[in-house]
Amino acid sequence: MERIVSEAKKKELNYEVFFTKEETKSLNFEQSELKDISHKIIEGIGVRLIHNGRMGASSSNNVSNLEVLDFALNSARFGKEVQFTFPELPLHSESFGDSKSELEFEKLYPVINEIVRYLENKYQGKVDLSLTQMKLYQKLTNYRCENYIERNTTFFDFGLSLFSVTSSGFLITYSWSWKKSGLTSDDLWNITRKMEQTLVNYDKIAKITSGRYKVIFSPYALLSTLGITISSGVNGFNLARRMSPLLSKLNEKILNEKINITDDPNLDTPSKRGFDDEGLRTAKRSIIENGTLKDYILNLDSAAELKMNPTGNGIRYSFSSLPLPGFHNFAVQEGERSLKDIIRGMDNAILFLIPIGEGQSNIIMGDYSLNVGLGYYVENGEIVGRVKDTMISGNVYTDFQEVLEISKDTELLMSRGYNTFFNLPFIIVDNVSVTTK
């Protein structure tokens, strides 16, 4: 990196250089057996140049490859006219997680085997799982100063899925969680128990007919509906290109007043950032307040195009991708009652746990049409059986006007690698269209 920075200085270029080094250690089980143990190191640099008022960019995983400057200069010949400058950077260093903590394969291997055999015996299925340690180092500098911003992130995650052929048909369920420091056997068992909570009366089929139902959207189902529609609708990239229906809708009510959504860069997840990947300070922002649209998610480029102020949301999803507007932590404010209590008080509803087919509709307009991968019918406060061969469809902007309640329970989900986390509750929506055979 230093070689490229020094060459860019010599050539008096208006440069920005972003370096990442990602080290991953993982242990993977496939079909209930150890498949591999991996150690991967990926490093690379992304370069942006503003040359003759135009943007040029390139990247390489050879971090001293001077060719990237030539590629970026060549690209600037055609690049977009730039209406912003790179900001002056403070000297800033931040870290997340316990970088000294290591994944202890040998210690955890017997526990993993125990969990796998337990699930196999209890559910007559096969288990895939992965245990990962991620260490990430990122460094940003530009021509405005000698300073740089650097970020060290360490976290561990554990995901498992169960596949079983049951009397109600194929059954797939999964669970995932993460930690800042090394995983223990208790952590692994807790995630296993969490997954088991999705398995209630799973071997019975509940026969329902097409119609309109109360639907309890799980955090996974919310991610595939409210999550992707709102995060793409308020995204500066789409707004600047007039591809979002939320352009000119600031301060208008777009969802039910029970819904509050923030972008919180201070939330304690691996997406916690004091500065974004363009060097702007981040801040907690209210995006939707009592159902009303209050703010957008902008990087330098989209803010300049929209003639607004950037919001500190420029994120590089890899060293080779340009900074794009993105949430740090998309958080929906939780409600007061637990999911258990809410279900107990319901006469009938569909508990929509795992969707299949995310993103296949006109998502930016809010449309969704999802198959129920795993879902249950709730009758008189009890889960009575699985709902199968069923599509749940509608429009986020219309359906999420009829929110009945939001649960106290929330779940943190990771999206787009480690770059954005979603903290989502269960949301109960009335009058949702359900099509079944």
Binding site: L27, Q31, E33, L34, K35, D36, I37, S38, H39, K40, I41, I42, A57, S58, S59, S60, N61, N62, V68, F71, A72, N74, S75, F78, G79, K80, F105, E106, N113, Q124, F163, S164, V165, F170, I172, S210, R241, R242, M243, P245, S320, L322, I356, G357, E358, G359, Q360, N362, M365, D367, S369, L370, N371, G373, D389, M391, S393, N395, T435, K437
Partner: protein, 454 residues
């Protein structure tokens, strides 16, 4: 390069190991609303080592060639760290020595960057000129891949895969309604693939205007005719993934469901995965286990006859490897994947397919699809009602869903106009996306398909 990789494996005296080294030169040019958003070239190179020991792999990556030996030792140590419960012996393969050069008349690397930018501008301008078009985007994508593969059995392969493609999209607005239409073309046939696409780009304009005037589809159970593109996505999503044997190889119940010889559908139905189709987006001369690609029947005349394998899954199931072990790039372990998947031609004409449909849908183009083995969904780019055997008005937001086993049996007619589709996207499995594949089919007719709707 091959010699350097072989030196890396030099000290290994027992067990199996291989090294993949890849050099990617990627060019991306994207113009949106008259502005070049991206015009860049990236060079990425690196490799990975797999060491196989008793039933599990150790896997390690490297960027610099001087780090190969360290990566080999790391993979070996990782493979020997833990003892899998089940020991599986990889069935030995005869060594192969081959250099595979691309068969293209115009290699994209012979075309200047400036010419590619001009091409993007030309197609972009073709898509403009209607007040309803709020966002017009054209993207040129190029991946020139050279891959080197060696293993401890003596296999040495060099293979070049020059991919290029182009896509165009229009977001149209009418009042509060926004709709998007797009087309994407890409394969390994060379720069010819992106030339002379004017007529295809004109279709995008027609599609978006159709979508803006289309009604939202009414949810229900329909008879559908799928065009070759979406029928290809259907067979990829609904059946192709289920044929990937890493999903079934230890699951006795699933193995029973997928017993070779079982009836899967009408005897008109034959399904193939063929990595050896030169020029197609999913063409590979050799897979990432160093196995030569080949034509594999999955269903023949309605009966299940085959499945897709890596060396590992084929060794475990006592079958032959099929050339389907693939990774998106050197940073990932190869897993069982499709290549070019299609339904073979039947005999029915398009008019014959329409005959007798009282209430149905003619569904064209594909936005995407997803499967969780038994259940699948896939969505169309556009669709028209079929009423009394005739094609009627356009409808939008058509997402089809069903159970694969029932749906395959509900295919009751197959056309005679097979076409393959590649494009700029690819297939996703686990974290590995986008893997270059193509899929295709003739027009097909399916009864009782669930369509989500309002």
């Amino acid at each position: 390069m091959i010699e350097e990789l072989k030196r890396g494996l030099g000290h290994i005296s027992e067990g199996y190991a291989d090294i993949r080294y890849e050099v990617w030169r990627t060019t991306s040019i994207n113009m949106i609303n008259g502005k070049i958003e991206v015009a860049s070239t990236h060079v990425i190179s690196g490799g990975s080592v797999r060491y196989y020991h008793r039933g599990a792999y150790g896997f390690s990556t490297f960027t610099r060639l001087e780090d190969i030996e360290g990566a080999v030792r790391s993979a070996e140590n990782l493979a020997k760290l833990l003892k899998p419960k089940e020991e599986v012996v990889l069935k030995p393969q005869s060594p192969v020595k081959d250099i595979v050069e691309p068969k293209v008349s115009i290699n994209p690397n012979k075309i200047t960057f400036d010419e590619k930018v001009e091409l993007v501008k030309k197609y972009h301008d073709l898509l403009t000129g209607n007040d309803k078009f709020v966002a017009v985007s054209v993207t040129y994508g190029e991946n020139l891949l050279t891959r080197y593969f060696v293993n401890t059995e003596g296999t040495e392969i060099i293979e070049e895969r020059p991919y290029c493609g182009i896509s165009g999209s229009i977001t149209g607005r009418d009042g509060n309604l926004l709709q998007r239409a797009f087309r994407s073309f890409g394969d390994l046939r060379g720069y010819e693939t992106v030339l002379r696409r004017e007529a295809d780009f004109e279709e995008i304009k027609k599609d978006v205007l159709d979508l803006l005037r289309a009604d939202k589809v009414e949810g229900g159970v329909y008879t559908v005719i799928l065009d070759p593109q979406i029928a290809g996505v259907f067979i990829h999503e609904a059946f192709g993934h289920l044929s990937e044997s890493d999903l079934i190889f230890r699951n006795e119940k699933l193995k029973e469901i997928m017993t070779l010889g079982k009836d899967m559908g009408t005897d008109l139905l034959s399904v193939v995965d063929d990595g050896s189709l030169e020029g197609e987006r999913g063409f590979i001369a050799y897979d990432d286990d160093g196995i030569k690609s080949r034509k594999n029947y999955l269903i023949k005349n309605g009966k299940l006859v085959g499945r897709l394998h890596s060396r590992y899954t084929s060794s475990l199931m006592g079958e032959e490897p099929t050339g389907n072990s693939r990774a998106v790039n050197f940073n990932y372990m190869p897993i069982v994947r499709m290549t070019n998947t299609y339904i073979e031609n039947g005999t029915e004409t398009f008019e014959g397919l329409l005959e007798g449909i009282q209430r149905g849908l003619y569904v064209l183009g594909a936005l995407g699809g997803q499967t969780e083995l038994e259940m699948f969904t896939f969505s169309s780019a556009k669709a028209y009602k079929i009423e009394n055997g005739k094609i009627g008005s356009p409808v939008r937001d058509v997402v089809l869903s069903g159970n694969v086993f029932e749906t395959l049996k509900n295919i009751d007619a197959i056309g005679n106009d097979l076409q393959m589709y590649g494009g700029l996207g690819g297939c996703g499995k686990g974290a590995q996306v986008p893997l270059p594949v193509s899929d295709g089919a003739p027009h097909i007719r399916i009864k009782n398909v669930i369509i989500g709707g309002r």
